[in-house]
Structures are given as structure tokens and as C-alpha cells.
Symmetry: C2
Subunit: 126 residues, 2 copies
Amino acid sequence: MSVDSTNKLALNFDENGLIAAIAQDFETKEVLMLAWMNEEAFQKTIETGEAHYWSRSRQELWRKGATSGHIQHVKEIQIDCDQDAILLLIDQKGAGACHTGRKSCFYRVASSGEKLTFLDEKSQNT
Amino acid sequence: MSVDSTNKLALNFDENGLIAAIAQDFETKEVLMLAWMNEEAFQKTIETGEAHYWSRSRQELWRKGATSGHIQHVKEIQIDCDQDAILLLIDQKGAGACHTGRKSCFYRVASSGEKLTFLDEKSQNT
């Protein structure tokens, strides 16, 4: 059976053993961050119900919120058609998912030109 | 100024010249797909207002919906803190984003064990 119609989990990790994982707030549907999982991070996430990732910068397993307290309780794990992307529906504890203190890592908008607009400023101006 | 506080666009493409791009329905907030952009795909998306990606399987620039008609009109392009992920808020035309005919590519749920549950079946059972 093809990868998009099977009910068998067969994650397609990339050449570095990683798969992209999107974290989305299960209530507001806000997309909070994109991170990476290896096989171990995926298994730990399933086992514990808390999001684990692979930190590419630190090259280590990363239990989200281990130091900050900003734990992500996982409500559902969705897998895409090609089994090469994961969508976590989460309950974000603490201030937010972003290391800058914001709820979401996506806080700037690109348009034509090289200048980004901060969504916080945007909301202040409107 | 650091990458997370600058207002200057400086996308951090990976070693293959690609960056992950999430497509989210701008109204329902449903996450529809995750795909990849190279520099050209990003520029074409900005210029045309329609989502362009880089097809890793076909190794070519891919105007989403070029053959299916399932165009994605881009309402906003958000950039994450590290500038290594993109979130497109889109208006999805046609049946959906997924090549299987579904609106979203995320239609299966993983839990412990190797069996995936289809969300369509799940909604039929509840």
C-alpha cells in the first residue's frame, strides 16, 4: 500500500535522520513553531505526552521546556500524506513557544523588499 | 543585530538551499501542508502572490496548483525567529492542498503503536 493510503506508521526521516514537526496550539490553532525530531524525539513524545525535539544547534535531544518550564503537552500527533512532516496539536504551558518570550516564533511579516514588519508593532499601529 | 530581533530579511536556507514553508488556511487556521522553498520559489511567491515551492522529488520549481488548479493565494508571509521557517497564510482554491484530494495533508493520527488512524474514519465513528 502506498505511503499516503496506508495506516502503518512509516516516518520518512531525511538524510540527517530528522523530520520537520510543526507545533500548533490545539485551541486557538495558532502555529507556534517549527522544529525537528529524530526517531528518539518522536518516541519520547509519544511515551511522555510532552513534545521532544532534536536540537540541530546543540545536537542533542531537547525536551521542550526542560529549562524554561514552557512545556508542550501533546493533544494529538498528525502525520502528513508523505509521512515526512508531523503536526503536533499542543497545549503550550508558560509564556509561549518562542525563546524570545513570545507565544509564537512567527512574529514578523515579509513582503516585497528586504524589510520585515513585526506583528506586535503592526497591532500597535492599527 | 541578532537574527531574531532584526527587521532585515535574511532567510537561513539549509545546506540544500531550502527552507521549510508551512501553508495555513488564513480563515480556518487549519494547517494544510508543509513544503519547501528555495530562494527562487520565495521570490516568485512574493512577486505573484501565489505560493511557489521547490519540489524535492521532481527537483523543479513548482507553482502550486499549476496542473490541478488548486492555487494558493498568499495573504501573509510570516518568518520565524531564526529565519529558517516560513508560515504562509493562504486562501486555498479548489478541493484542497493535498494530492490525495483532501483539504489538508494531515489526515492521519499517530499514537503508541504502529497503526495510524484516519481522521475521516474517526469523524465517521463519532
